[in-house]
């Protein structure tokens, strides 16, 4: 939740849904504590629903774009243009038998998928869709996401080990190796952005990029960091070309081999939520978050409207949400296109790329950013 002092700071800019909701509740005769308690679950449920709907859209896009790239039609009969196909997939998984192999460790086997999914959903805590449109503007913001994403390999290793299956074990080990290797360049790329905005908070990072619309986005100041971050994000999500933990030609399905029904659905959901989350964070860190290519304040000024007018604020917030989602899904589209463009790398190539290419370049990028920050404090957030 946004704390009260932080609220006071940002109350001038943008919508304050929490404040107005609590005011309305209090005017109905509730105590401030009760009003706050009533507000608490609303953004959480909303973000959870947004994440799941985002996954459904993502699965549909993945199937349709894959089909188009391969000159097929793709799902067509479940709903208009097959939009209900992900729902059908989910329902099928819901009704499937939940098998725990006889020689598997039941507790770890069940805990694995949960441990994979929970940190991913928890990371949505820090994804901003607007000035006040996030669950919590925690001070450590983006660092929380990096910390949470390192819980995931434990879950993967756990499920791979508990399955008592050689493919699962190999897949789990690969997933752990991959996640650990790519976490470092990822963190270094994020560090360069953090250094420029002097804050770990995602809201501050976006605000630092909102000066001159598209020109002030971080991608122009951090092109190398952007590429490193995107490659690492793909590796963290186990997307092609880095999907070797679940390489079906070698490992059947990696750590997912023994899973079925709802436990498999958790993995499935987790990987897609992670992809959407990574795309959202790329848009937050490098593509100006909720910012419109031309600053909304300028547009309002040209149209002779006050930024604080209620209607303008509602429009600004909606534009912000649309822009964040649009940027994220453009990146998702790019990831899907990349899936059918590049072949899978080998495990040695993967580790080579991570340790011998991305890590040094990320370090150099960080040092260059630091020196540029000292040399040109105006342009690089002194």
């Amino acid at each position: 939740m946004v704390t009260i002092p932080a609220l006071a700071q940002v109350a001038q800019v943008g919508l304050d849904l929490e404040g107005s909701f609590e005011l309305a509740m209090r005017s109905l005769g509730l105590s401030p504590g009760a009003a706050h308690l009533l507000w608490l679950p609303l953004p959480m449920v909303l973000v959870l629903v947004a994440a799941v709907v985002g996954v459904l859209v993502n699965v549909w896009l993945e199937r349709k774009i894959s089909a188009a790239v391969q000159q097929r039609i793709g799902p067509e009969y479940a709903g208009a243009l097959g939009v209900l196909q992900p729902m059908a997939d989910g329902m099928k998984l819901l009704f499937k038998e939940d098998v725990i192999p006889a020689r598997a460790d039941g507790l770890l086997f069940t805990l694995g998928p949960v441990l994979v999914l929970v940190p991913v959903i928890l990371s949505w805590l820090v994804v901003p869709f607007g000035q006040n449109l996030l669950i919590s503007n925690v001070g450590i913001g983006i660092f929380l996401w990096i910390a949470l994403s390192s819980i995931q390999p434990i879950g993967l290793l756990m499920s791979g080990y508990a399955s008592n299956n050689k493919y699962s074990l190999l897949g789990g080990l690969r997933a752990a190796a991959q996640s650990i290797s790519y976490e470092i360049p990822l963190a270094l790329a994020v560090l360069a952005v953090v250094m420029m905005s002097n804050s770990l908070s995602t809201v501050d990072i976006v605000n630092q990029q909102s000066g001159a619309g598209i020109l002030s986005w971080n991608i122009w100041r951090q092109p190398v960091g952007f590429v490193i971050f995107w490659i690492c994000a793909l590796a963290e999500c186990e997307r092609l070309p880095f999907d070797l933990p679940e390489a079906e030609e070698e490992l059947v399905a990696g750590y997912q081999t023994e899973y079925s029904g709802m436990k498999f659905a958790l993995f499935y959901l987790g990987s897609y939520i992670n992809l959407v989350l990574s795309a959202l964070l790329v848009s937050v860190l490098y593509l100006g978050g909720w910012g419109f290519p031309v600053p909304v304040e300028w547009l309002a000024g040209w149209l002779g409207q006050s930024v604080d007018a209620p209607l303008v604020q509602v429009i600004t917030a909606s534009v912000g949400i649309v822009m964040t989602v649009l940027k994220a899904y453009l990146l998702v589209f790019f990831a899907i296109l990349l899936r059918w463009t590049v072949p899978r790398v080998r495990i040695d190539q993967l580790l080579d790329l991570g340790w011998k290419f991305l890590l040094p370049i990320a370090l150099v990028n960080l040092l260059v950013t630091a020196s540029l920050k000292l040399a040109f404090p105006m342009a690089f957030g002194g």
Binding site: A68, Q71, R72, I73, L337, L338, T341
Partner: protein, 204 residues
Amino acid sequence: MFGFLKKVGDYTRDAVGAANYLAQGLGVTFDHLRRRPITVQYPYEKLIPSERYRGRIHYEFDKCIACEVCVRVCPINLPVVDWVMNKATKKKEFRNYSIDFGVCIFCGNCVEYCPTNCLSMTEEYELAAFDRHSLNFDNVALGRLPTSVTSDPAVVALKELVYLPKGVMDPHGVDPSAPRAGKLPEEVLATLPQATPTTEETPS
């Protein structure tokens, strides 16, 4: 010093080259997005099998003389020719004929060698069954003619790529009577110089 710089230069060139190839590949996949689907929406659309398609075998019981040539030319002696010798008339009494399409490899040898042409290939290829024993066709089942793709009202019949008119790639909406690209055998023959029969070529 220069050796090190050369290494760095080569490394950078490799990285840029790899990025260039990646961009080219993305261009190819992106270009495919705007192309029309080339797939056939199978249960609703079907391709018309080619003239010499080797599908399920058709058999005419009345023409068969139970010579068992089909059995002998079959790689695995598959056709079952069930006859008994009628001692009184000293003639074969034909009872049953069957081919098991779960085992048949559709090589067409039996059709090729049948002396009375009672065997022939159909264009039927949808032989899926719940029980493999139901693929063992007896002479009644073998005598049924399959529904032709072109005459089935529930199916949109599509021409295969080589049967389309010149320059056409999409079989949808092509006039069924439109001639295929290239010449038919008789048209090719018509262009050849007429061979005059000579006396040497026709010995006694």
